[in-house]
């Protein structure tokens, strides 16, 4: 199959993602009614749909480690952030007991999701088994929400103060960069499922290997670099937003001062 035809034709219905998306949309409308923030929800669902139903998913399914990494980034970083944006400002996301809501938990959720699913054994398991792959998708979304909740919780009071948020994001970037560095420069294949595709179901391999020049080694390099550089740029964007939020807070005097 040629690459062009593949990109046009190989859209699926996304399996369980489509009914679940519809359910989420219905629940949102029932709970909050139609409002402008619905756009964010729609965007989140589009991102999830792109990750799970577009040719990207077909490529991530046994062909390209880098496509799999892009899927990860969309599910862990982009979709959860958009989901949190879509919630009305008055909604509380406080977790009980309170120790689950701390920044350490959120940070470990976000960074841990990346590290855990790239342990060679788990990465292969997710590539080989449907249920584990589903679990991976759901866990990425869930852990992503836990991570971003510290920064983007609908209620201002439940967010980290901006200086703390900057350190939180910076540390997350460094931790993910380290994994990205390992993936980029490691001579071993992290996910052996991508090194030797068992069957070329779609007849894409010649186009990928020869046309795009993506040998398994280079494929893993691109995957590592995606995590190292663009992922950190997402964090950098968030850091910039935090600083803007910090300096934009209205002027009112510190305690013990007469204005």
């Amino acid at each position: 199959m040629t690459m062009g035809r593949f990109l046009i034709s190989d859209w699926s219905w996304g399996g369980a993602a489509l009914p679940l998306s519809a359910a989420a949309l219905a629940w949102y409308l029932a709970a909050f009614g139609p409002r402008r923030r619905l756009g964010y929800l729609a965007a989140a669902l589009v991102v999830i749909f792109i990750a799970l139903a577009s040719p990207l998913n077909a490529l991530a399914d046994g062909y390209l480690f880098s496509a799999h990494m892009l899927q990860h980034l969309l599910l862990l970083l982009i979709a959860p952030a958009l989901l949190l944006f879509s919630l009305p400002r008055s909604l509380s996301l406080a977790l009980r007991p309170r120790c689950f809501g701390g920044p350490a938990v959120g940070w470990i959720a976000g960074v841990g999701a990346m590290w855990l699913w790239h342990v060679p054994a788990l990465c292969d398991a997710a590539a080989a088994s449907r249920p584990i792959h589903g679990l991976q998708t759901v866990s990425l979304l869930g852990l992503g929400v836990l991570f971003w909740r510290q920064i983007l919780a609908p209620r201002e009071a439940e967010r980290l103060p901006p200086p703390g948020a900057v350190l939180y994001l910076f540390a997350a970037c460094v931790a993910c960069s380290v994994l990205g560095i390992i993936l980029t420069f490691s001579p071993v294949t992290v996910c052996s499922a991508y090194a030797l595709p068992p069957v070329d179901r779609l007849g894409l391999l010649p186009a990928l290997r020869a046309g795009w020049g993506l040998t398994p080694e280079r494929d893993q390099q691109v995957g590592g670099l995606l995590m190292w550089v663009p992922m950190c740029l997402v964090y950098l964007g968030a850091i910039t937003a935090q600083i803007a939020r910090w300096f934009a807070e209205p002027a009112c005097p510190a305690p013990g001062e007469t204005p």
């Binding site: 054994a121 380290v178 980029t184 280079r218 300096f247 005097p253």
Partner: protein
Amino acid sequence: MNELAATLARARAVTPLQREHWAMSWLATVDHKRIGILYLLTSLVFFVVGGVEAMLIRVQLAVPDSHFLGPDTYNMVFTMHGTTMIFLVAMPALFGLANYVVPLQIGASDMAFPRLNAFSFWLVPCGGLLLHFSFLAGGAPAIGWFAYAPLNEMPYSSSPGVDYWALALLVLGIGSVGTSINLIATVLTQRTAAMTLRRLPLFAWMILVNSFLVILALPVLNAALVMLLIDRRLDAHFFLPPGGSPILWQHIFWAFGHPEVYIVAIPAFGILSEVIPVFARKPIFGYEFVAGSTVAIAFLSVLVWAHHMFTVGLGHTVELFFVASTMLIAIPTGVKVLAWCATMVGGRIRLDTPMLFCIAALVQFLLAGLTGVSLASAALDWQTKNSYYLVAHFHFVFVGLIVFAILGALHYWFPKMSGRMLSERLGKWTFWLMAIGFNLTFVIQHFLGLAGMPRRVYTYADLPGWGWMNLVSTVGAFVMAAAALVFVWNLLASLRDGEPAGDNPWQAWTLEWATPSPPPVENFRALPPIRSRRPLWDIAHPDRPDPVVGTKGAPDIVAPEKNATGVAAFIVSESAFFAVLVLAYLYYQATPQPGPSAHDLNLPKTGGFSLCLFASSFTLWRAEAGERRGRRRAMAGWLALTILLGGVFLVGQGMEYGTLLHGGVRVGSNLFATTFFTLTGFHGLHVCAGLVALLVVLGLALAGDFARRPSPALRAVGLYWHFVDAVWLVVFATVYLLPHLR
């Protein structure tokens, strides 16, 4: 000596009482102002040394086929020039300024840890002596400041010069981390109550951001140096074939080296952000953007080191990503340049010497940035990287921006430090000689590079154009040397009989100008009210004060406890150090080595001893709970148990080492043994340090020290101990468990 004392006394730098034993009072000082001045003096001394080395280099290169120095001497002088200028001139000068100015700007009476401050400073002369002692011990290092492998290894550089170089940089690196931890703790915990983080003067803000960069980047270099020393002294081969990777040295070195550029540039940005508004008589344009872009620069700088390695052959894919991300740095720096320019637009600019230096720094930095963007493009980089084009580029950064900014800062803050004005006439001479000399030296080197002259060579053939261009460059260098002489003369003459400065000679607006010049030991007798970013403007113009910069309800950050803050910053730096060692371990374990391997380790036994270490975190937590509840006996008991468990773990490690050594495994046996001993050895060292600290706390507790007043010591030491345990968790997982997962 006595004459100098008398001069200083006349300059009111020492009180009559101190004059009696003034030398001792400087050697033993823990006052941040004196330590700041000592830093600056040290930096000046090494500036002269590094400058003489630069002159030697330029004389050698003045004409083609010159044999003035000879290849070996040239390489030594060239290495020492780079190392000296970066580690012994730029960094101490910026730390000195930060030390002197930051506590004053935030209304503090001293740094958070004055004795750590003195310790960090004294490491600089020690490091400098170590480095220069190599001249007497068989020859200075001749490896370039970047010390690429395998040239830095025993078979290729067998003189001990490289060992002195590595030790000196280790000492200096530890000092830099110490100072930066101190600066972080100072800005976060020692601010006067009304000086919220959003009211910080930009210099203090940038020093804060920069200090985070230092504690992340310098430990990376320290790890590389440690690995190099293990290679050289214990016959390992981290960076030497077979198995070892010279490229890894480049990765680690530039993972430090690229942030290092910004570590010296960000304080210079801070200086520009202080001086330009004062002499343009306008508040800084876009404070928020200047402050915020600093964070973005710091962030990007830790990300993009691989652009130093385009010519290594990393592959097209890797290069593409780094071309894009490197070019991004132009955005936040461009924001800064625009903000400085906009500050000057419409201002009533006073062209005093500090402002002249800062304007020149701005212009020259713009050119450095433009050539920098051109080097970020991999295709162009291949053509120009190993030519004088690159030499010109980074000298525009290091001299054009940083040295000019430092000179501007010295002219700006000298009146505060000494109570005397520098001579404006000599200052203008310094500036014009410096500006002309600098541009004469380095503008032409861009063209020399484009004409194909390679860098790092001791001489060159008489090719068309090369001779006269090099000669012009050498003449320029001598003009710069003249500028330096005029500057030193200005310092001495003005210290003796400069005009008295008064509190605020420049009509500046930040707090350091609200106290006498030089400030009293306690810095401030009384602080003015602070409601905006320019407290002294508000006092001078009560009818039109700056808008109040406020905080919602509580101040930005409730000032954290300083010991815990200091230890937390220390933990960050230690994490960076261990991260490099762990990554090196993973890198080398990826390909199986002949000889001992992870399967020779005794997993169950070490697992048992590891449980002891993890349990000690629990017992320590109980001890902390005991202290909070005032149960001193329970606390002492849990603490003793913690120490015991830590000791048991060390015994277990000793047994593991014993078995391995008995089986003939040495540090140099193969890369598994090297990385294993390095990683676990450094962890063991940290366990020992933690045990000593815990023993001190236990001693204090038994002596009843905690009964009299609540002590932050246990919490601070406890944080460190938990960190040591967490590191072991990572080490245990990578070294012992990971091989069984594959």
